[in-house]
Symmetry: C2
Subunit: 377 residues, 2 copies
Amino acid sequence: MHIVVDREALKEAVNQVSKAVSSRTTIPILTGIKLTATHEECILTGSDSDISIQVSIPAQRDDIELIKVVKIGSIVLPAKYFAEIVKKLPAEHIEIEVLENEVTHIRSGSTEFNLNGLNAEEYPRLPQLEEDQVFSIPAQLLKSLIRQTSFAVSTLESRPILTGVLLKLEEGLLTLVATDSHRLARRSAQVEVNHNLYLENVVIPGRSMNELQRILEDESDPVDIVITNNQMLVKAGRLLFYSRLLDGTYPDTERIIPSTSKTTLEVETKALLAAIERASLLAKDSKHVVKLSIQEERIHISSNTPEIGQVFEQVNAHHIEGEEIQIAFNARFMLDALRVIDSPQVSIQFTGALSPFVIKPTDHEHMLHLILPVRTY
Amino acid sequence: MHIVVDREALKEAVNQVSKAVSSRTTIPILTGIKLTATHEECILTGSDSDISIQVSIPAQRDDIELIKVVKIGSIVLPAKYFAEIVKKLPAEHIEIEVLENEVTHIRSGSTEFNLNGLNAEEYPRLPQLEEDQVFSIPAQLLKSLIRQTSFAVSTLESRPILTGVLLKLEEGLLTLVATDSHRLARRSAQVEVNHNLYLENVVIPGRSMNELQRILEDESDPVDIVITNNQMLVKAGRLLFYSRLLDGTYPDTERIIPSTSKTTLEVETKALLAAIERASLLAKDSKHVVKLSIQEERIHISSNTPEIGQVFEQVNAHHIEGEEIQIAFNARFMLDALRVIDSPQVSIQFTGALSPFVIKPTDHEHMLHLILPVRTY
């Protein structure tokens, strides 16, 4: 392989595929980035075997030549060093030439590196996916859906399926669900589906979702999502993002979402968030317990750590309906939920001090958070 | 104590004194911030016994009332919680009232905290300093002097005196020196001295210098520096910064600075810095060894880690004089020095492959860096 490539284009591509490369892998070749030059493009690949990212740099973009291919071919270069080198090279163009024994000569301005590469033949092949289950969604909407759900996945390996985000698709309605069995986040959106595509029990690792969220541009261009038995592929322009799916059956979470309510209140999202942030400053036990009660049309929030002190908050509710309630919950769960709700007001529906309660934005029906209370009263 | 204080003024003062508070102290009361309200001001104090910071909030500033004192007095509040609480309080004013048993009531808007305080009588008193050895220096100049020297202090406790920065004052010339015995940084500046003040062997802990550098505003207002036998006090407006001095005799570093040179070169600071940054990417042994040689009026820089690869750099010198040289050194030492030199060009003076070499800006005589080479050739 022998190419001359535009530095900025290479830097961007290396940055993107590096996100899939882990330094803790047990497979030495996966510490590298694979480069493949054809006459049309240069393809970069990074992978930790769970997630793989592939980016192609076209030979030309907007009439500007990005790559000059002297000789086609492939090489795997150590990701950590290659990324740092590319970032610091002095000139606009970078010449990359594979010499004998995978030694790779990198030249830019008056700087020359010889980097020991690895044989690209030994790099694992990416899965070849049947593309019959495909739907489209704007990149920024997908980013929102992930941000608003994936924080709720379990971090414990005791129930591996809960470390993933459930993806469902029915009649064009895409729904993501995440739960760690103490709280749950659910978010839906209408998406573009060609055929009457129906998906259930597609469970994507939470870490994959977070990486995908980070790597996608915040733009309205649609991305295509391909689902197979054990893989998801997201196609965003010249970037391909692969993730394996989790094995197992995701629990039926719909049945734990209460359909009735004994107490309902509506409140400014930011005012409630700020009050709970302050209350959580003194909620220093392991469960970060904060108490909430309703008295005289006002929400009272309090917290207490005997050796440090107490806090008392009052927040005006717009609307309170139903029975009085005293309830205690983990402040972190409430903060996580309120922070991803972009709507100015939320409605909270309680069904008793020991039953899960539901938080929803007041301006649409596409998001729901559920939190299990803590027994203290 | 019972006061109502402007939130922004309190937030700023708490931020500043918090920098002296360590959570790792073995003296429980030092995990707190001391507040003292008089009729004229509210004084906040934080200390880790090495460094103490005191900030006073005046009753009024620019005709705006910052403090209303209902009752004078003192209290010590847990720094970690108090700082977080102040940052998050909702209203413009904060009411602080000490109740029984040092329980302190903090009220702002509809938020109320009760925080367990400690008896201010038990807080250590700050040293009372004789102010007969004083000089003045603009804050931003002092910041520069510290930034350009303190990185070179030793981090090893084997020679404790080298963990400090030496401060000398002679005929109005202030000089700071730091060395870890492998490299040395020296920086001077003319300062304002009323009498013929002469200071030698004043050694300030490197950590104190770094904290001072961070806390000083980047402005041209002068700060006063008071030196006693075992304390330094820096007065910057309403902020007082105390540091203990190190015991012991600082070594005579002047005698190791070579006065002659066998090879001299002049080069663009940034070009040399960039080349050594790149070379250091592959200088991965424990000593970060980079080699430098001069051939045909050009500086050649290289580095080699067999299992990863090699790098070769060329940098144009403006001027080369004297013998050819091949020398090896720790890239980190060179990077540290070049990064604090604000001048566009540096001059480097070598006296042989195994002798210390000197780096100076070409446009003034007030800064010098010295680096001991590494034996490899």
